[in-house]
Amino acid sequence: APAPESGNGAGTPAAATPVAGGTLVYASGDAEPSCLDPHVGGNYPQALVSSQYLETLYTKDAAGELVPWLAQDSTVSADGLTRTVKVRGDIRFTDGTPLTAEAVKANFEHLLDPATASSTGYLALGKIKSMKALDPTTLELKLSTPDNALLESFSMPWVAIQSPAALKRSQEENCAAPVGTGPFKVESWKKQEAVNLVRNEDYKRPVADADHTGPAYLDAITWRFIPEAATRYAALQAGEVQVIDNAQPDTIAAAAKNDTIKHLDAPRPGASNRIELNSSKAPFNDPAVREAFIHAVNVDAGIDSLFFGTAPRSYSPLSSVEPLGFADKSLFDFDPAKTAKLLDAAGWSERDAEGYRVKDGTRLSLTFPVSTSQSIPAEQSLFEQLQATAKESGIEIKINLLDLSSWYGALAKNDYNLVSAPYTKVGPSVLSILFHSDSTIPAPSGYFANLSQVKDPALDKLLDEAGTISEEGKRKGLYIRAQKLVLEGHYLLPLYDQQNHFLYSSKLNNVGSTTAVASPTFFDTWLAK
């Protein structure tokens, strides 16, 4: 859903008439993807760039409603096991290949092929058992179990539809220049410098809620990678780039006072940004200690000082843009007295020389591996503040700053008590990924998504049912019950929505439309001369 906007960007009707032309320079703070095809792997940086040249079967409109896009329509059988998708017949990929049911089938097969090494897309389509093109525009999917999140899955960039002819190329070639149906196409990719996108002149169909039809206004987009936040912001101020992502809270606050820079806040769907408490081992195998921890840390003070009002506190496992999200503020107040009571009761009553609580000779110490590439500095500072407030309650937190490989390594070895890991998926079904006991079973690489390691049969049952039920009202009830369960079990400490802030030059007009995963699109955007 296009997110609420601050600033006065695309929300207000553009006073001036759009002009065509110009190149938009986008500076991303994310690591450069190793593959521009989001089928391969499947992370958010890929979603950001590929939203410019790939499109999905479904998307979300401004109101947050799921709407067909490359698809025309879709129906599901009464038992929920057969899904029929009708695709549009008037669309061609930028290599000239027409969009057909067969093409979509080829995409799904590509995603499900282990050689592609898709992770996000693969998980989203995991319930498809077989598929068949009934006619040039009709695709029939047979499912192993009913999947009421399938259309939401179809709206994610990681299952975007690419030219089947292009997919037949080697993975190396397809990674370098995927071919889709979007308003732009990949012209070249100079590693470590920029991905160059040019306008798709044959683009006729509008994206959802578009202001105009026909090709995009911009001639081209240069997609750069500038890892240093300060450099990125300086580049925006200097007019070298027009859009930056991963904007730092303090710069967002500074930009608010600056007429020439505007702000787009587009929280990601799926899970909220949270700290998970590893319930599989001591001391968090004791729910009382989990609860004590949650009341020991002062999250609000940290968010206030570090995020400059750009990140409202969350009390829910789900993002604030998820309609089915459930929040309970009362569970998360900062209350050291309560912590003390709980810990004393749980046997952590003694203190050692440094003032930390001890039980049976072991210190109440929590290991917290932090990935330097996944947590922005403000978040790392927040963790340090939590560390400081927890210390006052006699709880030691050991923050280990690790590179991504080592961080995954620590998780795979179950060498953590606290962890913060982002997960983006459209819809509440992300809860199954994060909290279903099936998700504690690691992939061959050792990776698993249920990092709080909740293994609760009641919860599993709720999640299974919510994922297959066809009745919308009941689905909502089930998901809310599931969320209550994990919140009240003190398995997680929600912090705020997954931050997705963009700053852009006021020369840019009509910035604001986003895909279902809140990655911005620039079809309507134009550059004032």
């Binding site: 190793s34 792997g41 282990p114 190396e172 240093e228 300086a234 580049a235 390594g409 061959p444 690489s445």
Partner: protein
């Protein structure tokens, strides 16, 4: 002396040069082999499955079959010794393999990344030279206070960490004054800040050495002789002292180049400049063995080459060395 001896002398000089080149080449090959070996075994000791790096990096949920397939494809299922010799055989034929994370041939990746880093390093070296010599000359001609000031400047700039300098320069020249772009471009104004970041600390180092030598040369017997001959101060400087001051600079340049490559890691990251340094950082993080090996080999080769060049330049500039 008779002409026969002349020819003889020339012949020994030529064979001398040939054996020098041969020595350098053999030494270089040895260094490259040792670097490749060290990296090969060193990086395999790092925890983390290379197959996973191939399958999209850490946290990939690649299936067991996919991982096995990747291992087989890259020969990672063979015994280590076999892998090592295969790798060496490939390296010997100039095949650096395919990057795990970029999926491109490493030689291609390096071909793209080497020129910008070289540009940066060479420019920084040149600028450092000019600054160091300029300051040395200015200070020897401006008395005690000037010397002290120059020495202080050199010592401080040699002590400044690259990343700090980069941040300060961006704040000053890009954000506050708006004179220069904060993001590096291949050429032009975008090069100024990164080059300055690398060059200033280096200039401090070079300056300390060069100024000492320049000072010694200015006080030397030959400078006094030249003055006694009626040479002006400028003449003494240009015709005599500067050449002497340049010698230790040349000798240090090989080392300096090595340190510039390390500095490039930081500078390229901050100024978002494509290059070897930046890819080295990400390659180590991603456990991209072929790319790490490639970067290490290229920088080792660059180092060997620069050392040979500075050696040769030293011999050219200083005939005493040529005979040694």
């Amino acid at each position: 002396m008779n002409p026969g001896t002349h020819t003889q002398r020339r012949r020994t000089r030529i064979t001398g040069a040939a054996s020098w080149v041969l020595g350098k080449v053999l030494g270089g090959i040895f260094v490259l082999w040792a670097v490749a070996t060290a990296i090969f075994f060193g990086i395999r000791m790092i925890p983390g499955d290379p197959a996973e790096a191939i399958m999209g990096g850490p946290g990939s949920q690649a299936s067991a079959e996919a991982l096995a397939a990747a291992r087989a494809e890259y020969g990672l299922d063979e015994p280590l010794a076999v892998q090592y010799f295969t790798a060496l055989r490939r390296l010997a034929t100039g095949d650096l393999g395919t990057s795990y994370s970029l999926k491109n041939p490493v030689s291609e990746v390096l071909g793209e990344l080497l020129p910008p880093t070289l540009t940066l390093a060479v420019l920084a070296l040149l600028v450092a030279w000019v600054l160091a010599l300029g300051l040395a000359v200015a200070s020897t001609r401006s008395g005690r206070a000037g010397m002290a000031l120059a020495s202080g400047l050199e010592i401080v700039s040699a002590a400044v960490p690259h990343f700090w300098l980069a941040s300060v320069l961006i704040m000053l020249f890009a954000t506050a004054l708006g004179w220069l772009p904060p993001v590096s471009t291949a050429t032009g104004a975008g090069l100024v800040l990164p080059v300055a970041t690398l060059a200033l600390p280096l200039a401090g180092f070079l300056g300390q050495v060069m100024r000492d030598t320049l000072d010694a040369a200015q006080r030397s017997g030959f400078a006094l002789s030249a003055r006694a001959r009626g040479e002006s101060e400028i003449g003494v400087l240009l015709r005599h002292s500067l050449r002497h001051a340049a010698l230790p600079g040349i000798a240090l340049s090989g080392w300096a180049f090595g340190s510039l490559l390390s500095g490039a890691v930081v500078v390229e990251a901050i100024f978002a400049r494509p290059g070897l340094g930046r890819s080295l950082l990400s390659a180590v993080t991603a456990r991209d063995i072929p790319l790490v090996t490639g970067v290490a080999l290229v920088s080792a080769a660059a180092y060997v080459l620069i050392m040979a060049l500075s050696d040769a330049a030293e011999k050219l500039a200083d005939p005493r060395m040529a005979r040694a």
